[in-house]
Amino acid sequence: MEFFLHILISGIATGAIYSLIAVGYSITFTTMRVLNFALGMWVMIGGMLTLTLNVMLGFNLLITLPVLVAVMAILGVVGERVSIYPFFRAGSDVWIMSTLAVGFLFINSAQLIWGHNPLPVPSFFGDGIIMFGPFAIFPQQILVIATAFVIFSLLYLFYYRTLLGKAFRAIAYSSEVTSLMGINTRMICILSYVMTSVLAGVAGFIIVPITFAEPQMGTVLGLKAFAVAIVAGLSAPRGILFCGLAYGALEALASGYFYTGVRDILGFSLMILVLILRPEGLFGKPTGERA
């Protein structure tokens, strides 16, 4: 039982990471029907910035985080301009390749700047283990899970309680009708891309003590998060949180009780199965043609 709970908790922590990244896919899909396929690499940049600012330059976390957010936002504006806008405007699907190209650019630059070796970043609250009765949990894992819940709650409030968030949802229905409201839809598309970039950066920030900082730290995470987003449904943020956590837990249990190799087979088989049975995702609403 202790073994089970231990694996479950660390699985849920991993799942929280998947959800955090996966919701990034959903935000730009909502506004533009476009995905940043390289989101995992953006997560890596967040991790590397944390390494640089926190470990190498010695800034504390309260300075590191805002600087990281600012850098990610700027990268987001530039990334949207070069890898989405030219193709989105022309109605072409080339963004599938161009977003990936940006990702590989990130990986190669990271290898040049930071080298190939995994570098440790200390946990934010030390490496002590917190005991909850019989089972142990790392503070960083609690932080990751808590962050996921906070960010998903904020996102919900944003979508349903702020005028800007309501405009995001309106564009999901029809960009044309939204523009008839006098709303600058182009601005909202840029903003949505910047939001995903910043979210990815923040995800990199909180997970880097767990994963170590290295140029490939986000690649597989990004792919698994993509599977989560597809399984849950790209238009269903709450479903993404649930599926991310469940997926992390399932994966951890499978590799804990069977063997590690099962882990990745499981996730991607699930994704293909869902795509066949319910292409809109478990929590997604079937979408017709967009007006």
Partner: protein, 241 residues
């Protein structure tokens, strides 16, 4: 207030609007009539900036808006209610109205938006009770009232309506047309595209008849009805059934 000169619009290589010119004066209700496929909706879409014209001039209060984005045109005070209402179905009625007032909220006019909203809900009391329901669940008539309110909440100078009667029960159509007359009395200018010619001719000051992308006849309702053969040639039977 609005002046369209020698408008030409194409979808791909298909020229839908070949030569359309008309005027809408301040405080007028002007109607564009025509059968299906005459180019009425396309004309409105290019005025609102949703479809770029090949050539021609669209002047709104003296400014050439032909190259403007739809959002800029809307903020300038020219609002279109699209065909089929096009409410945001998963947003509540209130949220739809808030989105209509988006630029006013951004300009810090939240308080006056509130009073305007009250006035609108007095004009259409039926939607007051349904403010917190999803707009997609409303009846066609209620949706049309929300769609009109969503445009009016921005305090437009010119309201453009594409087929406001489409799919509505006759009694609702009548009350919506009565609302138009009331709104004109409050200083609003209206441009109306309508298939129900007899209704439109009852309330409008002037009408233009469009066929195959060309304005064929124009004049006051009296002039047009006096020459009813011409009208019927383009529209079929116009006289109220």
């Amino acid at each position: 207030m609005l002046s369209v000169e020698a408008l030409r619009v194409a979808y791909g290589s298909l020229e839908v609007i070949k030569d359309v010119s008309f005027e809408v004066g301040e405080g007028e209700i002007v109607t564009i009539l025509g059968s299906n496929g005459a180019g009425k909706t396309t004309t409105l879409r290019s005025i609102a900036g949703l479809h770029r014209a090949l050539s021609g001039r669209v002047a709104f209060e003296g400014e050439d808006i032909a190259a403007w984005s739809p959002a800029r045109i809307a903020r300038r005070g020219l609002r279109m209610v699209p065909e089929g209402r096009q409410l945001f179905p998963d947003h509540t009625v209130l949220e739809n109205l808030e989105l209509g007032a988006y630029s006013r909220y951004r300009a810090g006019e939240a308080r006056s938006v509130k009073t305007d909203m009250d006035d609108l809900l007095d004009l259409f009391p039926r939607i007051r009770e349904r403010l917190h329901e999803k707009a997609g669940l409303l009846s066609g008539g209620e949706q049309q009232m929300v769609a009109i309110s969503r445009a009016l909440i921005s305090r437009p100078k010119l309201l453009i309506m594409d087929e406001p009667s489409l799919g509505l029960a006759p009694i609702l159509i009548r009350s919506i047309f009565e609302a138009f007359v009331k709104l004109r009395g409050n200083g609003l200018t209206l441009l109306l595209v309508e298939q129900m010619a007899h209704l439109a001719l009852q309330i409008c000051d002037r009408a233009y008849v469009l066929e195959s992308g060309v304005v064929k006849v124009s004049g006051s309702p009296k002039e047009l009805l006096a020459n009813s053969q011409v009208l019927e040639a383009y529209l079929g039977k116009v006289v109220e059934a």
